[in-house]
């Protein structure tokens, strides 16, 4: 047999559930819609961003009605280069991922960083670049960009 054409058919995998984002993640996402970033203070006194519903050490419910606004600018605590962007990622060209500790927060927020590879350093100051339209979704943050 010389014809090696393989039969194929589309197979789309999905789990079409509707989920509530809950009091904490919902408040965080609503904050993004308003171009504000919210965190919560955990049992160790750290301001955690994004805010979790439960304390990582004690499992106590954290106060969704007592969220703390942090800055939209901060510092890179770690970063990596993504040479092979994949479907759904923030950029279609090679780009950096960064963990960014926003001023006022004690933890890192993961997102893309739009800056030339050779300019990126741990410790560099970056700020949020907002999406043109914010809807209450993590992609309301388009990416981070150098702060100066």
């Amino acid at each position: 047999m010389t014809d090696t054409k393989v039969l194929s058919a589309p197979h789309s995998m999905e789990f079409p559930y509707t989920r509530s984002t809950g009091p904490m993640v919902g408040a965080f996402l609503t904050g993004l819609r308003d171009r504000r970033v919210l965190g919560v203070r955990d049992s160790a006194g750290r301001v955690v961003v994004p805010p979790p519903e439960y304390d990582a050490a004690t499992a106590a419910v954290l106060p969704a009605d007592d969220l703390i606004e942090v800055a939209t600018e901060g510092v890179v605590t770690s970063w990596s280069w993504n040479p092979k962007p994949r479907a759904g990622q923030p950029f279609e060209r090679p780009f950096a991922w960064a963990l960014v500790q926003l001023d006022g927060a004690d933890t890192g927020l993961l997102h893309a960083l739009d800056a030339p590879r050779e300019s990126i350093r741990t410790g560099m100051r970056v700020r949020i670049r907002w999406a043109d339209e914010t809807v209450g979704y993590i992609k309301d943050i388009a990416c981070f960009e150098p702060a100066s």
């Binding site: 984002t21 993640v25 994004p50 994949r86 759904g88 890192g108 992609k139």
Partner: protein
């Protein structure tokens, strides 16, 4: 606690297997693991498997793998959507009940048909991380930088890779092996900066099978059983930015609970080179007295959902063969070493 031992272990060769499906990969491995025990899968008191439906791209894909076991007439069976090491943990717990004496544990995974780096993004927080689709290599590279900038050198990563390839030369199941010079490795370009391509695992398909037995039954089935002296698993906080990526608190705690102590050999499930160093440090291992990853580890072959169980099987097999008296095996799950299992084994 009831004494439970690994009495048999088998694994497939790992490679990109384009001709066989999961059941076809698993069946000969099952047969090979059962053979020395003289038992059949139907003699097993309990059967537990580890795999991921996301790799197969089909809900309840693990059910079809039961065709390899032959679940009729009905058997007592369970499954974890985790590496097979956690299936072994469930089987160990099940054996503690005391009403059965044997258990079959298996794991299988085909990473090659899809984009495993992207599939693994589905295990991330679905609200604030998942929508960005950060792939497994990018996340590992974030961890590698945190590790390097905490006072480690990229030469340490090259040393891990060179040792893995060298050790894997004696492992017929490994995918990547051979003599490589550390300086040559460091001359290679950065891929996912700060990682080079060789700091990342190969794409592997494979399966592994472990037979467990309790007490006297273990001594009947195996000349030198590898007894499980301690087993524990712990998890770190989900958010990548909320923990110290340069260390592994969950591995350290699991190691303390399992009672690692002095070991002749260690099999560490570290798909990325820096992760082996993080785990070794958390377990308090010293390479001058402990042989680390004599099989080559997950850098030499990394069948996802299988590679952790292989670490336990490799450690047990080596103890049963007289290569040592006490070993530790480690398995990991989740992004950047989020969840870790530690199993201490002894044979004499």
């Amino acid at each position: 606690m009831r004494d439970v031992a690994v009495v048999s272990f088998a694994q497939s060769a790992t490679r990109r297997d384009q001709t066989r499906n999961e059941v076809e990969i698993l069946m000969p491995v099952l047969r090979e693991a059962m053979a020395p025990t003289g038992l059949t899968t139907h003699d097993m008191g309990f059967t537990c498997s580890g795999s991921s439906d996301y790799l197969a791209g089909q809900a309840f894909a693990f059910v079809s793998a039961l065709d390899a076991v032959g679940p009729w007439p009905p058997i007592q069976e369970s499954h974890v959507e985790m590496d097979g090491a956690w299936a072994l943990y469930e089987a160990w717990v099940r054996l503690q009940h005391g009403d059965i004496d044997t258990a079959l544990v298996y794991a299988f995974g085909k990473s090659s048909p899809g984009d495993v780096g992207r599939v693994l993004a589905l295990q991330l927080d679905p609200y604030v991380v998942g929508p960005l689709w950060p792939d497994a290599v990018s996340i590992a590279a974030l961890q590698a930088r945190a590790f390097l900038e905490a006072g480690h050198d990229e030469k340490d990563l090259a040393r891990v890779v060179a040792r893995s390839r060298r050790n894997a030369a004696g492992n017929p199941h490994a995918q990547l092996s051979g003599e490589v010079d550390e300086a040559t490795l460091l001359d290679e370009p950065l891929y996912a900066d700060p990682l080079r391509m060789h700091d990342c695992p190969p794409i592997s398909d494979g399966a592994a099978v472990v037979v467990l037995a309790a007490g006297d039954r273990a001594r009947e089935l195996c000349e030198r059983p590898a007894w499980i002296r301690g087993i524990d698993h712990r998890i770190d906080v989900q958010a990548l930015g909320s923990r110290d990526l340069a260390t592994s608190a969950s591995t350290k705690l699991a190691g303390q609970k399992a009672g690692v102590g002095r070991v002749d050999l260690a099999e560490i499930h570290a798909p990325f080179s820096h992760q082996e160093l993080i785990v070794a440090e958390a377990l308090g291992l010293n390479e001058s007295t402990t042989s680390i990853n004599p099989s080559g580890g997950a850098l030499a072959s990394n069948p996802v959902m299988v590679a952790g169980l292989v670490r336990i099987g490799e450690a047990a097999r080596r103890l049963s063969a007289g290569e040592g008296e006490r070993a530790v095996a480690h398995a990991t799950s989740g992004p950047a070493l989020q969840q870790n299992l530690v199993c201490v084994l002894e044979a004499s």
